[in-house]
Amino acid sequence: MEASPIVSISHVTKRYPGGYEALQGVSLDIDAGSMVFLTGHSGAGKSTLLKLLAGIERASSGTVLVGGLNVSSMRRAAMPYLRRNLGLVFQDHKLLYDRSVYDNVILPLQVTGQSAKDAARRARAALDKVGLLDREKANPISLSGGEQQRLCIARAVVNRPNIILADEPTASLDPETARSVMEIFRSFNQVGVTVLVATHDQAAIDQMRPRVIFLNKGRLA
């Protein structure tokens, strides 16, 4: 069975004010259910590509299709509904430190208006998957770097997204913790979630053996 592309990028250029081109004429397809690593030196355009997919930034030219929707020309008002199908994992976690671990994970469910009962069940399930169920009442500030990253992943997957986009998820973690985080991604991929990870962690690539896309100075290498 031929898998259809869930992400389709064609001739995408991203030019920042000042003329710097982070991406130059990039075209690629990513099949639904696959696991893909984007790699390359810093400044190669990995983060920019993920930002274009999530609609955090817009392409200067070219088309970015995610789940059949054209993100590069999407109306501002439609963007939230795209994001609800994406699980975003950030290098700096972007957790909220004014509330508990549990309240961080439940946030995406409140945004989509889940009932309190459903939300609680799903939030606990997500925390369980990343091994943080016993820390649900803790403040995220008291978690280790690896735990914070796992919390960020739990928040990303709690809405059961079709695609996980992770930007340097293991960059600040020790090798052992990095391995465990990568294993979490693998377990989501095994149940059909498309996983796209930007990383320059060669150990992770060796461990996972995913499809690898190399970016070099804004072009596919």
């Binding site: 939230p80 972007k94 957790l95 946030l107 945004v111 989509t112 208006g113």
Partner: protein, 300 residues
């Protein structure tokens, strides 16, 4: 729909918690808004009282027709008939010159002067009382009566009520301007308060956007914040005005008693109070709306 309601409740809950968490700044904001609103509100209440006082003084306009010396009883009769047919006339009273002189002589100060007069210099008079305090109608009737035969001079006693009306009208306009200016101030205060609140919740807004929150989801708690601040400010303004009235009323009733009156200042009715609270809450909402919309546009 249920999700929407659920989030409204959630927003209201979080907003209340936030307001309670910073009681000092909440109180200061409420005071600023309350004082700004109390000024025009107090002016409005005082003007309302002045108006009702003025209405009490002159519920009916009066005209006095002084007759020619040559007017006889038949002339008086025909004048009374003519005036009686005019619309708006409620009551006619004929004051013969002799009665007028006798009335005058009763005033202690000038009884000697009156006694020294060799003949009665006063004319006969007809006092016309109109049904309403319609000063324009009184002027028209006065103009008409001037052309009647045997009428020497017509005095419309409505001039002072017209002046008072004009003064109250001026007061209202001035109050309107003040009200508009202070409403702007209130909106500006809320815009700034909400802006500061947005800055402290910058991370939460950013994360909410990344996980798929719509703009209205992000705005909602701030709408509640602005509306609550406006409503509490309005309540505070009402409290200030009612306290001020209570304070003034002690002096007012002393003054009124000296004039043999039981007049006292009256506050606002329930519906006026509710309308005012609604208005101040709406201004708070408007401030929040401006503030958060500007922020979301800027950060997009």
């Amino acid at each position: 729909m249920i999700a929407w309601l659920r989030h409204h409740l959630y927003s209201l809950d979080r907003t209340t918690i936030r307001l309670m968490a910073a009681p000092v700044s909440t109180a200061l904001n409420v005071i600023v808004i309350g004082v700004a609103l109390a000024l025009p509100l107090a002016g409005y209440v005082l003007l309302q009282n002045l108006q009702s006082l003025a209405n009490g003084f002159a519920t009916q306009a009066q005209l006095t027709l002084f007759l020619d010396r040559s007017a006889g009883p038949e002339d008086v009769k025909s004048l009374e008939d003519r005036l009686g047919k005019e619309k708006g006339v409620m009551h006619l009273r004929f004051v013969p010159r002799a009665t007028a002189l006798a009335d005058l002589a009763r005033s202690a100060d000038i009884s000697e002067v009156v006694g020294a007069l060799r003949e009665n210099p006063l004319p006969d008079a007809i006092i016309v009382t109109l049904k309403t305090n319609d000063t324009v109608g009184a002027e028209i009737l006065a103009e008409k009566a001037r052309s009647f035969a045997k009428v020497g001079y017509v005095q419309a006693d409505s001039t002072w009520t017209r002046r008072l009306d004009a003064l109250i009208g001026l007061g209202r306009s001035a109050l309107g301007v003040l009200g508009v200016l202070l409403s702007f101030a209130l909106v500006a205060v809320t815009v700034n308060t909400i802006r500061l609140q947005i800055l402290t919740q910058h991370d939460e807004i950013e994360v909410s956007r990344l996980i798929g929150a719509t703009d209205s989801y992000i705005k909602r708690p701030f709408f509640y914040l602005g509306t609550l601040l406006g409503a509490f400010g309005g309540l505070f303004a009402l409290a200030l005005v009612f306290a001020g009235l209570g304070f003034l009323n002690r002096d007012v009733s002393t003054l009124a008693a000296l004039y043999g009156s039981t007049f006292s200042l009256v506050g606002l009715g329930t519906s006026d109070c509710l309308a005012f609270l609604g208005f101040s809450a709406a201004l708070g909402w408007l401030g929040a709306h401006l503030s958060v919309s500007i922020y979301l546009l800027k950060t997009n």
